[in-house]
């Protein structure tokens, strides 16, 4: 536990802590497995051989749909669930190691956790809730008061100190829960979908505050969510989980622009996708024969050999919409001709549904675009914006 004695000065508030890998990892997960046996169902592998390393000050988001194992993984790190095998090291100490039969209880792991339901104890005031982790770790009474007051101020709920949870709004309750997690200055703070119960406006505000606080205070965070915009906002790195496995672990930008497989491409952002046979491969890219014509697609992960089918995909914003009769552009990854079936004005731009070759594609045009429903249009996917990933194995 990194006990920071002196109160943080004003000059420190602007300091940005960057995720660095020079320091020892705060959390190291090796080859972790966890199975569930639900009554009347087959054995479910919730965590399927996961490896993860979090550096000090890093904000890592576990992102995935419900049932992908992200919460189970978080609970295994917290010690609230027991993995079946593997190893978890927190702050350089073994918290779980199946080969040496080590399994520390949650209270010995020096972590904090924020729950989806807030889990504030209804019989304690906000201040009492926040003081609890300090008292249970034997911090002196005087220090408890000091640190509680400081953290109340940090999360801006000083006025709520004497109130009981049922006298607070959802956003205030979550702030108190955040304060309770921050107060002990643990190496690692675990977040279990903390914002999913709060209304949108407060959620955005809290998200920004949390981001600022993390970058200022520099705590290490493992954050579970199913909301990709939340993940994009907060994370240094995002781990996209698929059926208990890490599908891709990278920065939000890389995950968005270079999804490692179809699962990630589909889960993050919106994509148009199709399949086609690879006819030639060179320089990490391939010529692919798609139903719309031949395209030049960049591999993001594994290459697909010539003759095999690949999934090709592009983001709608990477395709230019031009009239069907305009001249064929010279440098394009793929050109698709189709008919506009719907036109939706959403403010920043116009969204078009384009029917091409029995498929419906999404296209984006400038807000002042004159394109109407029924028009023949041509989508020009920019060079390097078309990606190719292997066909997923049929499971």
């Amino acid at each position: 536990m990194s006990t920071v004695g002196a109160p943080r000065g004003a000059d420190q508030k602007t300091a940005t802590v960057v995720a660095g890998d020079s320091l020892a990892p705060v959390l190291q997960i090796d080859n972790l497995y966890k199975h569930f046996q639900l009554p009347g169902e087959k054995k479910v592998t919730a965590v399927d051989g996961i490896d993860l390393t979090l550096s000090r000050g890093e904000f890592l988001v576990l992102l995935g749909p419900s049932g992908c194992g992200k919460t189970t993984l978080l609970r295994c790190v917290a010690g609230l669930d027991s993995p079946d095998s593997g190893r978890i090291r927190i702050g350089g100490r073994d918290a779980y190691d199946s080969s040496r039969a080590i399994n520390q209880p949650p209270e010995k792991r020096h972590i904090s956790m924020i729950f989806q339901t807030y889990a504030l104890w209804p019989h304690m005031t906000a201040a009492q809730n926040i003081a609890y982790p300090l008292i249970s770790r034997g911090v002196s009474r005087k220090q408890v008061k000091e640190r509680v007051d400081r953290v109340l101020e940090q999360v801006d709920v000083t006025s709520q100190a004497k109130r009981y949870p049922n006298q607070m709004s959802g956003g205030q309750q979550q702030r108190v829960a955040l304060a309770r997690a921050l107060v002990s200055e643990s190496d690692l703070i675990l977040f279990d979908e903390p914002l999913s119960n709060i209304d949108a406006k407060v959620r955005e505000q809290l998200r920004e505050e949390m981001l600022e606080m993390q970058r200022t205070l520099g705590f290490t965070a493992l954050y579970v969510t199913h909301d990709q915009s939340e993940a994009m906002h907060l994370a240094h790195r995002i781990a996209v989980l698929d059926s208990g496995k890490v599908a891709q672990l990278d920065t939000g930008r890389m995950i968005y622009t270079r999804p490692a497989n179809r699962y990630v491409a589909r889960f993050i952002g919106r994509t148009n996708e199709t399949t086609g046979a690879v006819t030639s491969v060179s320089d990490g890219a391939a010529d692919v024969t798609t139903p719309f014509g031949t395209g030049r697609a960049t591999f993001t992960n594994e290459e697909v050999p010539v003759g095999a089918d690949a999934v090709v995909a592009w983001r709608p914003e990477n395709a230019q919409v031009v009239p069907a009769d305009s001249a064929a552009p010279e440098r394009a990854a793929l050109v698709v001709d189709g008919t506009v079936t719907a036109r939706v004005f959403v403010g920043m731009h116009v969204e078009l549904l384009v029917h091409a070759n029995d498929e419906t594609l999404l296209a984006i045009a400038p807000p002042d675009s004159g394109i109407r429903e029924g028009d023949q249009v041509r989508l020009v996917v920019g060079e390097g914006a078309l990606i190719a990933v292997p066909q997923p194995e049929t499971r």
């Binding site: 090796d30 080859n31 497995y33 051989g49 490896d51 390393t53 917290a78 010690g79 609230l80 095998s85 593997g86 199946s98 080969s99 040496r100 039969a101 080590i102 399994n103 520390q104 209880p105 949650p106 209270e107 792991r109 020096h110 972590i111 904090s112 956790m113 729950f115 989806q116 339901t117 807030y118 889990a119 504030l120 104890w121 209804p122 019989h123 609890y132 982790p133 249970s136 770790r137 009981y164 949870p165 049922n166 006298q167 959802g170 309750q173 829960a177 309770r180 002990s184 675990l190 119960n197 890490v246 672990l249």
Partner: protein, 580 residues
Amino acid sequence: MAVVTDVPTKPSAGHRITSWARRLSPFGVFAGLVTIGIVALVGFPLLSTLWNVFFVDGALDLSPFVDVWALPGIGSVLLNTAIVLVIALPISLAVATVFAWLMERTDARIGWASTILPLIPLMVPSLAGTVGWIALTSGRAGLLNVWLRDLLSVVGIDLTEGPFQIYSWGGMVFLYVLYVVPFGYLSISSSLQNLDPSLEEAARVNGSGILRTFFTVTIPAIKPALVGAFNIQLIIGFAMFSIPATVGVSAEIEVLALRIYRLLTFSYPPDTGSAVVLSIMMLVVVAIAGWWQLKVNRTKRYGTIGGRIGRGAHVQLGRWRWFAMFCVLFYIASTSILPFLGLVFLSVQGFWSSEIDFSRYNFDNYAAVISTPDIQASLMNSVLFGIQGGLVAMIIGLIVAMYLARNTGVAAKIVDFISRIPATLPHLVVAVAFIAAFAGPPFNLAGTSAILIGAYIVMYLPQAVISSNSAMAQVGNDMIEASLVSGAGQGRTFLKVILPLVWPGFISGFVICFVVMAGELTGSALLAGVQTPVIGFTMIKMWLDGSTTLLAALSVIVSVVFSVVTLASLLLARPRRRRG
């Protein structure tokens, strides 16, 4: 992404043991000792009794199972028990549920009544209450009957008996319902207190009427408490002794509890074999109900105390409000004030007479009761034993409930099963088992307070566990997990988080335990000695001696004493959680 490096190896046995020992918290050790204690306290006397019954000279002998059918009238005993319970239990559960809902959720709420309602009948022990009702409604001499006949003769209807007859099927069922309802009410109302009213408000907003909401949202949401309430009521129904021993005898409706009592006391030598076999039949029924409760609690699909707590408005009943309030007040009167008046009426007479003649009334019975050292001692003992036994039983119950909430393995099933067994045993059987196991050497506890308190704890442990279970089921897992993650061990989590949250449930469970222990009848009759008389022992002796008016005086005093203690504990039970 890192590459999978090695296949995890199995830890050695040595590692396992050291890791297990390292994880052992003081609380874990304590819970383990409690578990072992329960096994010893419940298992040992029962096993030694079973051994004595079913093993003759070391060989298994199941003839008691055959012999039992040769008992005279056993078929009708079983049938009577079934009829009484099948009619009385559903009525009791329904009454308890509706009353709890009226008091917790509607504008028919009567502040004082909602708190007092479940306790009033507990403050008047069932033998006292039953005697009070006999004084009021026995066919010819019942006070109420006399008054009603006088009233009816004014309009030209002359009766020589009735109109009420407590010595009948109707009377039996009526009294069973009266005295079984409160045992379910407590767990249902505390579960309603903890249920987020927004669940019901959501239903109302979505177009459900009051009734529809009640049946489609409220009832399903508190199902664990309802099943728990049914379980308690079933156990109380089976164990009910005061009504069969008084009304049942005169109405010639013999039920299992009475037959077992007779097998153990009226026959010589006591027919322990048949008594045990009859007990096993009850065990089967209660075990099925217990398995059902466990199944319901596991699914976790019910409203629990989450981190967010809502506030709700009361349902407006309109003109039904007055009718609902009348029903509740009428119930309170029938369980307490009416029988209490009957008792007072009896207690001031030298012998039972339905003639109202103030000149003959005096307080001789009270003087006799107060001046008798034995009776003083039994009052004192019962209150003390009730408080001690109730506290111990509830603490054990809470630890068992915590253990059951977090463990689902074979060990948990065994602990749960063992803690439930006593519910199915008539108190006489527990008493007989305790005498067999602890009265003689090496323990030599015959007639001591230890054997009485021990037996009380065993007798009422299932109720303590069930009360604790439904209290625990209301505490969301995240409340406990948040505490563990905050660095608190299991002991601190228990004291600082679980205990405050289950406090109302704990106290209501304690009050039940106190009253049933202090007023316990049948087991006390066998276990209490001359040195340690208790109320149950003394009262049953008075009933059998036929000193009805003296018994009425003692009942009045007992009711007053019990009321004071119950109300005092109630003040402690006010929930700490602030409501907005």
